[in-house]
Symmetry: C2
Subunit: 389 residues, 2 copies
Amino acid sequence: MRNFTYFNITKIVFGRGVEEQAGKEAAKFGRKVLLHYGGGHIVRSGLKARVEASLREAGLEIVELGGVQPNPRLSLVREGIDLVRREQVDLILAVGGGSVIDSAKAIAMGVPYEGDVWDFYAGKAEAEESLPVGVVLTIPAAGSESSPSSVITNEDGWLKRGYTGAVLRPRFALLNPELTYSLPPYQTACGVADMMAHIMERYFTNEPEVSFSDHLCEASLRAIIQEAPRAIAEPENYGARANIMWAGTFAHNDLLGNGRLGDWASHDIEHELSAIYDIAHGAGLAIVFPAWMKYVYKHNPERFVQFAVRVFAVEQDFFNPERTILEGIRRLEEFFSRIGLPTRLEHAGIPDDRLEEMAAKATANDTHKLGNFLPLGQEDVLAIYKLCR
Amino acid sequence: MRNFTYFNITKIVFGRGVEEQAGKEAAKFGRKVLLHYGGGHIVRSGLKARVEASLREAGLEIVELGGVQPNPRLSLVREGIDLVRREQVDLILAVGGGSVIDSAKAIAMGVPYEGDVWDFYAGKAEAEESLPVGVVLTIPAAGSESSPSSVITNEDGWLKRGYTGAVLRPRFALLNPELTYSLPPYQTACGVADMMAHIMERYFTNEPEVSFSDHLCEASLRAIIQEAPRAIAEPENYGARANIMWAGTFAHNDLLGNGRLGDWASHDIEHELSAIYDIAHGAGLAIVFPAWMKYVYKHNPERFVQFAVRVFAVEQDFFNPERTILEGIRRLEEFFSRIGLPTRLEHAGIPDDRLEEMAAKATANDTHKLGNFLPLGQEDVLAIYKLCR
């Protein structure tokens, strides 16, 4: 087990009706709030009105910035920074999913920074401070509500880049599972694949002596595998929605990664896919992750046997580990299929004529290795894209 | 799943040599530190000198208060409060196990309070503020390093009482598994039973729809069951010690209890035992918990079947749940025995001639019910004590 530091300042308020506490929690950080959100869904559902009422009741002044898109854009972040400075906002309240939260975080660290906010994403600066960010979560998937990360897309060159820094953890996150009732099955499934990938990226490590977090990762995956089909079949099942929502936060708040070195190659490989094709991140991960597993399992077969046996209850073939491993991967694909996700490029209508280009781009023409479990060069990544066919 | 709030401000710094960071972390909270500890062990091991060197290097002034005993005493807490006020200490650094940390927390909330610190434990007051507390942990067991709780014994009447309040979570906890190498096997085992009990008290609930935390609880127990015998057989096995140490923190920081209503009757029943007889809390729990299980399982047999199957991999008898349940309890007792703990009163040299007295005291003469899973009156508690024989 590696040395680690874990410091998570996000206050989680979980359950029915907790969005009504937005005002109470926000008022701890000042008098003026930027309400940051995406499209009209939160208007139509009445959520925006409820949150605004709560903020006003707490005596807070509201400034608004909607229009966050999936793969949140740098231009809106810059607009938000100007607005917050001009209006002297004290707190940014993100009402939405991962994209809205990531955009809010970018604005929050951009405000006190003298340079350009893209500097953080371009690796040119570290964020030392940030305005406080609060969250009312509507999509369980990205885990951004309690993570120290933000991913932003720069329209100038369509660069999708992430930044991670301790100051980015939200100060509070209000999680009401009822707000996820209206998520369509496909979007629910994409969120599920995203959270499973967050766990598996941490799970596949060569670090020895991590049995406690191994068991926690496996348990989290099993719980998601148990609850996801129920949440999809019965969208208003509170219990299923609640377990999935809490799992999504847990999957990416780093508790499952403490003491381990995660991999993250599959995320990088998927990013190239969703950068070119219009595919949801979770759906892309459902295609890429099993392909990655097929390519790398020989590097540490014991870990893949453990995955198969403990996560998918595969009857172990003690004389033929490979059979056990491949059955585990097959069951993962089967699970993704069952909840309506693609597991091959063609299922998502993606052609295979730009695989070389994506492999080159992902590895910056073979100058940059992907992942830690087994560092991958351009040829490896190409082979994995081919396994996605 | 119940609504819940989770807010844990403890910064965890985990790994080899982290006690050397005591000065750096403490300096964030002021210039003067009360170094609070128990006996001579930390002097002999050199830990005290290392921590002091780190504090001095960070420019901190040190005030000392040793002498904390197991079941920490109110008189020393009062002495500490006077000392901290007189010396205008900014931070209390607990170097030790649960008793030292609980004593530090009591001092920390007593200092800014005008009344008597026992008011908190007597249920007469709520702590609204506290000096910051830091921890260098030497015994993985109580989980106090990241919990909001403190248990203190008032010598006037030998009342052992707990207080839980958000202000009591330590601000940082330095966890170096190497510091636990010198723990004798019996003390290691007592710590293991304590952390398992913290998990099982949360696990045995009637709350529906808690499958995510069910899986996490079961995973934590399985990891402890896997690692504990190794930590005891090979006291200087870093991996085993590290997994056990992190499990001890995780078991009681409330992550496993979120959304659930825990039981805690076994803790109350054990407290009477250790109040009269000189037995370690963990050893007492190894006797009481299986007896409690035998008495209450009929109330919710499905949960006990799940425990047996998922935690101890009992081959399920689908036609006879009771056989499965009793085999699960038997394996728990067998595990406690294997790591050297008593599972019957006589193993600990405790006679059975005061069971009625303890049952009356635990329930305040049948006016107070114990536990939430199945609220227990005086006769129930007596029956459980009898099952401890």
